[in-house]
Amino acid sequence: MSIQTVHPTAVSIPQPTKKPRKLPDRDTLLGILFLTPSVIAIGIFVYGFIGWSLRVSMSTWKGLTPDYTWAGMSNYAALMQDPRFHIDIRNTVIFTVLFVAGCLFLGLGLAILLDQGIRGEGFFRSLYLFPMAISFIVTGVVWRWLMNPAQGSRMSGLNLLFSELGLDFLVNQWYTTPTFGMAAIAIPAVWQMSGFTMALYLGGLRAIPDSLREAARVDGASEFQLYRYHILPLMRPITLSALIILGHTSLKVFDLVVAIAGKQVALDVPATYMWTTTYDGNFFARGATIGIVMLLSVAVLVIPYLFYSLRNEAEL
């Protein structure tokens, strides 16, 4: 798996202006000089701020004035005992499982269908991918209406559609379903990101040489066997990438939940808890604690993946 994206086009060399030749070392120094502002910016805004958050998470800061009184790990202990954080974990698990599984199945399924040499492939592909271009807020606002849970004469959205089509058994309470309301929020998330998963898989399928398909067919493999035994095993690295990307997205989900559920505790996730406890409740120490816990959960996924991707690249 390389991280190359684009290929160079034909090249014509403009005549550079004549200048006295510089020592390469000086040019390298210039490079370091020009890179420095970015390195400092990331140093402060990423690593410095993470350290600062870590410090806040070990303080007693509650209220508008910063208070860095040392509190050790007590905020972490309290968070683990917090019933609201237990709801967050439950919701994150429900959301992650459905969102990741939904995107992988739909994405792989659509990619295989599109790989059958169909007419209008480009059209379908663009259509499946367009939700990636719009914001989670727009998605959330529209799906909140589509998934309106009102019943009887106030019925609307998808429930109304189901009812008109005679599919009354599909009428449900969506995100107001007790305990599993979060499952409904995974639907727009799948709507938004399954096209992206499809594009990842389709790229993988296109990289398979035709000779492999031919060889399998000559051996008498059916289309099903061709995919099951020859093609799907080659898709494993793509599934891994997709798992990491989708998994870390779902651990961070925020906009979509805010747009659909507002600040309802039943549909709380770590990101919304962090937001409300910090900016509504002024409980900065707890907000920082949630932020750091989120960072750790994402880091466990992403750091090995980063090194895996870059190491593979170096071997090329």
């Binding site: 990331i42 958050s53 997709a242 992403v302």
Partner: protein, 279 residues
Amino acid sequence: MIATRGRGTLSPSRVIVYLLLFSAAIFYLIPLYVMLVTGFKAFDEVSLQTMWQLPRALSFDNFIEAYRNLAPSMWNSFRLVIPAAFISSLVGSMNGYILSKWRFRGSEILFPLLLFGMFIPYQSIMIPLTQFMRTIGLYGGIPGLILVHVVYGIPITTLIFRNYYANLPNEILESARIDGAGFMSIYWYVVLPLSIPSFVVVLIWQFTQSWNDFLFAVILTSSSSWPVTVALNNMAGSQIIAWNVQMAGSFIAALPTLAVYVFLGRYFVRGLMAGALKG
């Protein structure tokens, strides 16, 4: 692309393939359908019971009303994303040039450290960020938000440009150096003219990302500087503004990035794939 397998024959299995593809297309189009059908109805035609029906006549009531509500924040969004996208791509281009063509001791360690910044949950830096922006006096307004988008855009923009430049043959740079060109003149006369495709990819990517951002905007701006995502979310949360106006507003808020996708989709997808660290 080359796939010619079975094209032209319409066997039962082909029919099933097309049926499945069309069903999926309906799933992806439902929200767009609701936004447009609702948006184009006259106020007196809007009702929950008929929300799935096509409008009897084209009317712009909902779009006009939604635009009246969202116009200031739409302009805020443009004032935010255009500078953010341009500054981001300049910074990314320079970084990518250095990290691909002027590697130095330690640059292989620096690169993943930069990249990590694009995966972090921003909740983990949110409190220091607010404090810091207050201290330097950039809290509440659009310039501060531009700065934040540029800084947190460094990883992805650097990645896209670095991968692009890595594919430029070193021989071009070597021959320029033999002709006496140095760091800046190679960048200016050789690399930059070849970078147009990457600039398009990065501009589009940063435009879309900053337009669609909600988290930074909701935490770092005050109401007069709200970009459209925050304004739309507030509009949807209020009891005063009817759902039909919300649907029209959602469409208006999505329109700029949708237009970019429709006209420059190929470049958008490249940015998307770069974010997955694979090509």
